[in-house]
Subunit: 249 residues, 2 copies
DNA sequence: CTCATAAGTTAGGTCAACCTAAAACAAAAG
DNA sequence: CTTTTGTTTTAGGTTGACCTAACTTATGAG
């Protein structure tokens, strides 16, 4: 009754040694473990949404205990990936940020590739990418990117960092912020909730699509959208999760 | 000086929990860890080349200490993947064999895909596949296979198990066994030694190519091969690593 | 300014997968 | 039938990544 107590993902432990011995180009970074890459990604995301990353935020995002975060964060800052003051939260150092962006690039290129080259539905790529991002080499990622024409965003509209860690961090407004009568272009939606993605897809809400906010019911009620393919209504909560670019009305 | 003491592959530990909670279809197998998959693959390969797998053979193939193998083998036989008698070697159970073949399929489909869809050179796919095979879902493997026309062999000529674990285990003879004057078709070469593969490629020795053994120097000397694109000579050691199908003289 | 609460940390523990060194065993050689 | 040899196993240890429980620090309310 001890094992597998809280519906966890299958343990995928140490790297397979399988014939490792000879020349690894250690010119670059020492190749981080999968958990470490996940920590860095999480911290990057938290920093984007507001200053320093708190222990609890990291723990929550990774679904692990806060105590586990403390230890890992100490180790990572000893390795120079994080700047960390006790009780004060963490920030990525330049090295940490670079590593986070490399992982993010992997993740998003993989998502884009699965959709464009292998016909995956856009709500089915997140989990697959979440595993592959730790196993794919940079060379593979570059080939994938080249094969689909060096995409600049993933299928959900998230920007893809360049090979050398440059990313477009423009903050978009959400559909919830738009004025009635405003014409907007859908830019980005969250990639983690598959159900949400399927629903949005059924409504025709995808990055690139242009919609007009026709009406907004009072008291945070549903919004009515006009689009080429017809009208639709979305709740306020959903609207807040759709990032848009305002167009000249 | 303690860390990273013996040029090892980067440790890639437990699975990233990152938002795991809901419905996993546990209809099938419980998803094995990467090391376990490597053990099963190794045991499968050893069994193919001769009866039961000895502890030492497994250890050598995986580049780990024999002592480590004992423990793991006990665990795997408790899980019903291996049939194991102390001091007597191991064999795969049907369940273990099934799991080994699933991993083998992943590996070989990935290799084939990288070459045919992404333009990898055939000597550069092994290591990449070795990592990806533990991360890719069965659904992804099936999509890859479909995208390149359901291949039956990988780029080195190794047979790819079907989705439901059927594999062609025909034993081929090697070039070293052929008689002078014999016409043969290259069927398969080992996939692990990148240098060997590059060399074979430069000679034009690839699966599918037909060659005639024109001459064989005495005392295990080099063989002279006639092929469409010209002649070439190969040493006896190399010839023993090239599997062929004998054609009507 | 004290104190409750929330946030963070330390201490101690588990587990898988490896390791080395030493003991146990099987099989073949004297 | 004993001894040697080589393989296999046991014993005990390490590391990374997690856990729970208990303690510490920061902060906001009275």
């Amino acid at each position: 009754m001890t094992a597998a107590r809280r519906a966890k993902t299958p343990p995928r432990p140490r790297g397979g040694a399988t014939g490792a011995k000879g020349g690894g180009a250690r010119t670059r970074v020492e190749r981080l473990t999968a958990p470490v890459e996940d920590y860095l990604k999480a911290i990057y995301a938290i920093e984007l949404a507001g200053g320093a990353a708190a222990t609890n935020d990291i723990a929550q995002r990774l679904s692990i205990a806060p105590a586990s975060v403390s230890g890992m964060v100490r180790r990572l800052s000893e390795q120079g990936l994080l700047a960390y003051e006790r009780y004060r939260g963490v920030r990525l150092t330049p090295a940490g940020r670079q590593a986070a962006l490399r992982t993010l690039r992997r993740h998003r290129v993989i998502e884009a590739y699965l959709v464009r080259a292998l016909g995956y539905p856009w709500d089915g790529v997140h989990d697959e990418a979440e595993r592959l991002e730790h196993a794919a080499s940079d060379a593979l990622i570059d080939r994938m990117a080249a094969a689909i024409g060096e995409p600049v965003t993933d299928p959900h509209g998230a920007p893809i960092p360049s090979r050398d860690g440059v990313i477009d961090e423009t903050r978009h407004r959400t559909l919830a912020d738009a004025e009635v009568g405003q014409r907007v272009r859908i830019r980005r939606v969250g990639d983690e909730d598959a159900g949400l993605l399927r629903y949005l897809d059924s409504l025709g809400i995808r990055p690139g699509v242009v919609v007009t906010l026709a009406e907004r019911a009072p008291f945070d009620g549903p919004l009515t959208l006009t689009m080429d393919t017809g009208n639709c209504q979305v709740g306020a909560a959903l609207a807040a999760r759709v990032q848009v670019e305002h167009l000249g009305d």
